[in-house]
């Protein structure tokens, strides 16, 4: 009998396992769509019509950044709560309830997206992950998202319930660090999702159902980014949690500082939401001053990440020295590079540092003109969510999967190869994406090859960049194949009695060093809310005052299968309008 998680919490392990498998299914689908679009865009293999590219892109985005990440994180959050409070969930039926709601929600959304490939229904949702109105998806797409998000809300409630029950029994104890991280993350998530909830429930869903005729495109867009930026921290904070509570342990040492870890999570709670407008630096209708405020908040968000970099590296060094490492840099050799869990997380952290640099460029308000919506941005977030988060999640899977299945990992060498391959593939891909962006190559387009002009590469050629991206995409796909081989192999393994015990890193400087105020969740939530009110009240009021709550009259743009004809009609209407009246015979020569 081992002391693995499944032995301690068999019922909870089933929930975590279900969440993981849901997440892996999304990863598999997202990965397939990823390679299809990589080869299509770079013009190496185009077997579908370019119109379908956007359906593929929507699926790639939604499956990976919504279902893969969030299903995985509800799994590790459940693990974190139960392990660190050392108590099971209060009511496992409630837990299955939120899991089911999430599963049903994402299935509805997924079906709405995938139906875009077939002519058999008029259901479609090729609106991409950002679903900016007046692009319009089938109501099922929005409804599914609502159910999914409500599922995460209930999951958060479940974890708060565990914490409150624990607190009643342990009134004088500090909140265990992993629980603290889960709770602050969820508080941030509750605030952040208000934006998307209002956007969907008040505007987009009724609009797609035909209950209201118009929406204000700038308003729904702003509400989306109210949620759209903090959601990246919702993906990132679980990865940070892993770097804080797992990486030191795997490195063979202890977490450098518990208090600073708490500070970092508090900063994320406070600063994540009032930054969303930095995605809208180039939006007309939002005053420069509001953009400046968002920029300042964003820059201060660097602080928790820089602190994390310090703590993580310091913890790794501590671990390495415990293992006999010596010298200024010589300790690096003593790290457990053979362990895919360690190597994957270390490489993910390293790539996140690179992502930090491109992120600073994005955040630079007026520098943003150069890179906004170019391929650069795609390069950036493939380093953040695509590596810092995804690679960390895949790496820790090699530790968690045995814990929640009770079966030993199928093959550690394959796992090591997988994480290294991801690192190499992403290096090729994101470097070329960043460089392509600087040439002005746009993101989110099926064919970045134009008739009237060509992109001019300062170094090498655009063809080389394309080749680099395709090579990266192929390596990443191979890496995914190895990952799934390990997941399936592990699931088919026999039960093992020699699994490592469940647990997480101890700390060098423990919670007793952390001021009590850090655990005052009400205070931090209040500050976060106040900051959000400061950052958003005036922009939102101004947008509503300018464009109206329901906006000007717009031509809805349903992206159903008849979309092509719709576009045709829209074009014709527009064309007739233009040549309206006296300009009928206008020759219009500009010399």
């Amino acid at each position: 009998m081992s002391n693995a998680y499944i032995d301690e919490f068999p019922a909870e392990a089933r929930i975590v396992r279900a969440a993981f498998y849901s997440s892996f299914l999304a990863l598999a689908l997202g990965g397939v769509f990823g390679i299809i679009q990589t080869l299509h865009r770079t013009d190496f293999l185009r077997f579908m019509d370019s119109v379908d590219y956007y359906t593929v892109l929507t699926a790639h985005g939604v499956f990976l950044v919504i279902s893969f990440t969030i299903f995985f994180l509800v799994g590790i959050f459940t693990w974190a709560i139960t392990t660190s409070l050392d108590r099971g969930l209060e009511d496992i039926r409630f837990s299955w309830g939120w899991y089911s709601l999430m599963a049903v929600g994402i299935t509805l959304t997924g079906v709405a997206i995938l139906a875009g490939f077939t002519d058999a229904t008029d259901i479609s949702a090729s609106v991409l992950f950002t679903f900016y109105a007046p692009l319009q998806a089938h109501p099922m797409f929005y409804l599914g998202l609502v159910l999914f998000v409500v599922g995460t809300w209930l999951a958060g409630a479940d974890w708060f319930r565990s914490w409150l029950a624990w607190k009643a029994e342990n009134p004088d104890e500090r909140i265990p660090l992993p629980t603290f991280m889960v709770l602050t993350t969820m508080l941030m998530w509750y605030i952040a999702t208000l934006g998307v909830a209002v956007a969907i429930l008040a505007f987009l869903l009724p609009w797609s159902l035909g209950w209201i005729d118009t929406v204000n495109p700038l308003l729904t867009r702003t509400l989306f980014w109210f949620f759209g930026h903090p959601v990246v921290y919702f993906w990132l904070m679980p990865a940070y949690m892993m770097w804080y509570v797992m990486l030191p342990k795997i490195s063979g040492g202890k977490l450098f500082s518990d208090p600073l870890a708490r500070v970092v999570f508090v900063l994320f709670l406070v600063l994540s939401v009032p930054t969303g407008i930095h995605h809208q630096y180039l939006d007309p209708g939002i005053a420069e001053g509001f953009k400046f405020i968002a920029m300042t908040n964003t820059m201060f968000l660097l602080l928790p990440s820089l602190l994390t970099a310090f703590t993580v590296v310091a913890s790794m060094e501590h671990g390495a020295r415990q293992r006999g490492g010596e010298g200024y840099l010589g300790w690096l050799k003593a790290l457990p590079w053979r362990d895919p869990v360690f190597t994957g997380m270390a490489l993910a952290g390293l790539m996140f540092a690179a992502a930090g640099f491109s992120g600073m460029i994005n955040a630079g308000m007026n520098i943003n003109y150069l890179v906004h919506n170019t391929f650069w941005v795609v390069g950036h977030f493939h380093l953040t969510v695509g590596t810092a988060v995804a690679l960390t999640f895949m790496a820790v899977t090699y530790w968690f999967l045995p814990q929640v299945t009770g079966r030993a990992l199928w093959n550690r060498s394959v796992a090591l190869g997988q994480v290294v391959l991801w690192f190499i593939g992403m290096t090729f891909m994101s470097n070329a994406m960043h460089r392509g962006g600087l040439l002005g190559i746009p993101r989110r387009t099926a064919e970045p090859q134009y008739e009237g002009f060509e992109f001019e590469a300062a170094v090498g050629s655009v063809a080389e960049l394309d080749a680099q991206i395709a090579l990266g995409g192929v390596l990443l796909t191979l890496s995914l194949v190895l990952f799934f081989a390990n997941v399936i192999g592990t699931a088919l393994n026999g039960k093992s009695d020699s699994l490592p015990a469940n647990g997480y890193a101890e700390t060098l400087s423990g919670p007793e060093d952390a001021p009590l105020v850090l655990d005052n969740l009400k205070l931090w939530t209040a500050i976060a809310v106040v900051l959000v009110i400061f950052a958003y009240t005036f922009p939102l009021l101004s947008i509503i005052e300018r464009g109206g709550l329901f906006g000007p009259e717009v031509i809805p743009f349903p992206l159903t299968l008849e979309s092509v004809t719709t576009v045709g009609i829209a074009l014709e209407t527009a064309a007739t309008e233009t040549v309206d009246g006296a300009t009928l015979a206008l020759v219009g020569v500009i010399r």
Binding site: S50, V51, Y54, L57, L128, Y132, L135, P217, L218, R221, S257, Y281, L282, P284, G285, I286, K291, F292, M295, M299, L306, L307, A314, M360, A363, N366, Y369, L370, H372, N373, T374, G440, R443, T445, A446, G452, F453, F455, E456, D513, P515, R546, G551, P552, E553, V554, I555, F557, L559, S563, A570, A574, T578, A585, L586, V587, G588, V589, I590, R591
Partner: protein, 267 residues
């Protein structure tokens, strides 16, 4: 709280870095004058753009000695005007809006880049110092034809640049003894007045008409030709205004000879 010395140093360095970044951006705004697209412009009704003074006829207009304004409409899946022509050494203020969904107006290889949102107008002032041709792309997904949405911006030598549009309205068929009216409309989008001569050659005859178009205005002139002088049959005509030239054919047809309601080119 117990913070390690190294960590304190790191914290200070991190704060310095952040403050430096904010200072750099502020310098870019205040020192270099890189203004953000903002809320300077009022909103417009996207479905009524054709009646809008500025966007009803997307164009480039001269507003100062070297200053121009460009009114650009982005729509699925093209830009108007296309190509946009501006002279070298000019300062151009772009006003960009969208007719249907959210687009962008991004001049490739430059930092001219803005979202085009239905109902909102983006304002951006750009200096063009050198002659060149640029691509314009939409970098916001706007529907199934997104990848086909492109335009061009030409920065042309000052001497090749002009802002005069001509349009010609002529009948294609008239009855004998009727008058044929050749209407020439000249639109002057420059600041200065334009003095020009409209020349019409039809059959063997030549007509000339002086025309003065005030800066920013449109003027038209109508030359009336008596078809009796031309006689029945097809007559080639040419209208020339400076470098503008348009040619066509006028048919003088007797309706009694042909079972046709002719005489009117409207269909």
């Amino acid at each position: 709280m117990n913070i390690h010395t190294y960590e304190k140093l790191w914290l200070v360095a991190a704060m310095l870095l952040i403050v430096t970044f904010i200072a750099t951006i502020t310098y870019g705004s205040v020192g270099l004058g890189i203004a953000m697209v903002g809320d300077q412009q009022p909103t417009v009704e996207p479905t009524e753009l054709s009646d809008d003074e500025r966007f009803g006829d997307p164009r480039v207009e001269q507003v100062g000695e070297n200053e121009y304004e460009a009114y650009v409409v982005a729509q699925t899946f093209r830009y108007q005007p296309d190509p946009i022509e501006v002279p070298e050494d000019s300062q151009v203020t772009f006003y960009v809006t969208a007719r249907d969904v959210i687009h962008s107006f991004s001049i490739v290889g430059t930092n001219v880049n803005t979202m085009a949102i239905p109902g909102e107008i983006a304002e951006m002032t750009v200096e063009f110092d050198e002659v060149g041709e640029y691509g314009v792309v939409c970098n916001e997904y706007c529907g199934p034809g997104h990848h086909d949405m492109e335009g061009e911006l030409h920065v042309v030598p000052a001497e090749e640049f002009d802002l005069v549009d001509h349009s010609v309205d002529t009948p294609t068929e008239v009855e004998p003894d009727d008058e044929a009216e050749f209407t020439v409309e000249v639109r002057n989008r420059q600041l200065d007045d334009l003095e020009t001569t409209v020349v019409l050659e039809v059959g063997d005859e030549t007509f000339e008409e002086e025309l003065v178009v005030a800066g920013g205005e449109t003027a038209e002139t109508t030359i009336v030709v008596d078809t009796a002088d031309l006689g029945e049959g097809d007559h080639d005509w040419t209208i020339t205004v400076d470098e503008f030239e348009e040619a066509g054919t006028l048919s003088v047809v007797d309706p009694d000879a042909e079972d046709d309601d002719g005489g009117d080119d409207d269909e």
